[in-house]
Symmetry: C2
Subunit: 305 residues, 2 copies
C-alpha cells in the first residue's frame, strides 16, 4: 500500500554541541519519506529550486521514493538554519529563507491520487486541505502542524483537521491547540475537533497516542549520544504512518486495533531515535530494516514488566 | 518482611494552582512510610517536637506503622513551606525551619535492628551511614539524597552510597552526581559508585531503573488533575521498596530478576501518582490496596504493545 507525503524539501544549516553543518539536505517531507520508505512505497510531493543537487535527488530515489511529485522551478530551495541549546531540548532559528517554497501549491500527480495513505507535513492549512481534496479516497489521512498556524490561522486549521483521521503534534502544540495545560484533558478536547486518533510527541520523553476510549504511552529511547535532533519528529511521523500503510490498516472501517496503533507509535519512536544518531539525514544512508526491527524489540525489552 | 524508614516527619505549607494549605502533615519519612505501609510492615525512625498533633500520630499509627522509633523532644517540629509554578514542574521554597530536626541523630530501636529492608530518606549522609551501621544485616538498603549533599558534602555522600544496594534520585540529581548530562551515561557512572541498582525519577515523565546490564523505563501516569506533587517522589520510594519487601526479595543473593524490579518501579509510580491527587497525605486516608492494584494493571494496559 503506497503512501503520499506532502511537505517541505529543504537545505538546513544546523549547529549542535557535537558540531556544525552549514548546508545539508533537510525538510519535513524529506525526513518523513525517508523514514516511511523502510515500510512502504512512498510518493513525495514537494518543491525545490534549480540549486537542488543531483546527489540529493539520487539519494532520495535510491530509497525507492517516487519523485514524480517533486516539482523543480527556477530559484533557490527553502533554507533553514538553527542552533541547539547545550541539552538540545531547545533551538533558536537563525535563518528562514522560504525561497521557492513561498509559492508552493501542491499538485498531486494523477498517478498518486488513488493511494490510500496520506501524510501532510507542516504547511499552510489551506494547502493541506487542497491536497486532501485532490486525493480520491484515502483510507487514512492526517498530518502535522505548528504553533504559527495554531495561533494565526486557527479557523483555517480547525476546518482542515476536521477532515483528518489523525493529528500528529508535539506536547506544546497540543496544549496551545486545546488551550489546556493538562495533556489528558487537552487530548480529549482535540479528539472533539475531528481526528479520531491523536499522537502527541514529547521529544526525549517519548510519545502518547489517544483515541476516544484508550491511550498508549511510550517513553523515549535512551540514546548515549544525540548528535542532531533535527527531523526526529518527522521521522516519527514517517515510521508511524509507514508501518500502518505496510500493514494495510483501515482506521475508518475499524480494521485497526489498539495494539496495531501502539506498534505504529513504537516504529515512529524507533525512526525518531535513529534520526538523532547522526547529523541531518546521514543515518539513513546506512540504516537497515533489520536494525529497525532490532530496536523495536529493544523497546519491548525495556518497557515490559 | 519489615521495612525500616528513616527521615523527616514535618509540617508543610503548600500553595499550588489548586489551592493552599498553611500547615499539614508532611516530611519524606511520612510519605515513604505511608506508601510502603500498603505492602509491608513499616517501622519509622524520625524526630518531632512537642507541637506534633495526636491526630497526626494516630493517622500514621492507623496505617499499621510502628512508631517506637519516633522520637518526641521539646521544641517545634520541622516546618517547610513552598509554592508551585503554574505547570507544577517547579517550586520555590518559601520557608525552611529545621527546628528539632536540626539535632536529629537517628537511634534505631533494638527491635528494628534485625529488619531486612532499609530506606534512608534524604538526610545528612553521615547520619544515613550511622543508621546503616546500627542495622544488623539488612538484605536490601538504600535511599535518597539531594542537590545540597551532592554539591557540598560530596565525599561524605560518596562514602555513604558506596555501601548501598540502591540509590533513588531524580534526573537533575543524577546529572549533578555524575557530572554528565546524558542520563544513560550518567547512570553508568553512578553504578560505578557502589549501588548495583539505580532508580531515576523524572516527575511527570515517569522513572527509569538501571542495573549493570539492563534498564527499564516507564512513562508517568497521566493524571487529569495534579493537586499537589509534594511527597510524590517519596511515595514512589515507599512503593518501590515496599513491594520488594513484601515479596521478600534479596538482591545481594541474586534472588531478584529484572521483572521483579520493574514491577517495583511500577508500584512506585502508582504510589507517586495517587499522592498527587489530593493535598499532602490526604489521599492516604481513603486509598485501598485494591485501588493500587487496579492502577498497576492500568499501567500495564497503557504501556504494553
Amino acid at each position: 500500500m503506497s503512501l503520499v507525503v506532502v511537505g517541505s524539501v529543504a537545505y538546513d544549516g544546523v549547529e549542535t554541541p557535537h558540531g556544525r553543518v552549514d548546508r545539508m539536505l533537510g525538510g519535513a517531507a524529506t525526513y518523513i519519506s525517508l523514514a516511511a520508505s523502510y515500510f512502504t512505497k512512498t510518493r513525495l510531493v514537494a518543491i525545490v529550486g534549480d540549486d537542488f543537487a543531483d546527489e540529493d535527488t539520487e539519494f532520495i530515489a535510491r530509497r525507492g521514493i517516487d519523485l514524480e511529485g517533486l516539482e523543480r522551478v527556477p530559484g533557490k530551495t527553502f533554507f533553514w538554519a538553527g542552533k541547539y541549546s547545550e541539552d538540545m531540548n531547545d533551538r533558536d532559528t537563525l535563518t528562514t529563507e522560504l525561497n521557492v517554497f513561498a509559492d508552493f501549491d501542491p499538485k498531486i500527480p494523477e498517478s498518486y491520487r488513488g493511494e490510500k495513505y496520506l501524510l501532510l507535513g507542516n504547511i499552510q492549512p489551506a494547502l493541506q486541505r487542497s491536497v486532501l481534496a485532490q486525493m480520491k479516497k484515502p483510507r487514512l489521512a492526517g498530518g502535522d502542524t505548528m504553533n504559527y498556524w495554531i495561533n494565526d490561522f486557527r479557523e483555517e486549521l480547525l476546518a482542515t483537521i476536521r477532515q483528518w483521521d489523525f493529528l500528529l503534534i508535539n506536547d506544546s502544540e497540543a496544549r496551545l491547540l486545546a488551550g489546556e495545560t493538562n495533556l489528558r484533558r487537552a487530548a480529549s478536547k482535540i479528539l472533539g475537533m475531528g481526528p479520531h486518533t491523536l499522537v502527541i510527541k514529547r521529544g526525549e520523553y517519548g510519545a502518547m497516542l489517544f483515541r476516544n476510549n484508550s491511550y498508549f504511552v511510550v517513553p523515549g529511547y535512551l540514546l548515549e549520544d544525540v548528535f542532531d535532533p533535527t527531523g526526529a519528529g518527522d521521522c516519527f511521523a514517517g515510521g508511524f504512518i509507514g508501518y500502518l500503510a505496510e500493514q494495510g490498516f483501515d482506521l475508518e472501517a475499524g480494521h485497526i486495533g489498539r495494539g496495531d496503533l501502539s506498534r505504529a507509535v513504537i516504529y515512529g519512536s524507533v525512526m525518531g531515535s535513529f534520526c538523532c544518531e547522526k547529523f541531518g539525514v546521514e543515518r539513513f544512508r546506512t540504516l537497515t530494516r533489520a536494525e529497525i526491527d532490532a530496536r523495536f524489540n529493544e523497546f519491548r525489552a525495556f518497557t515490559s514488566f
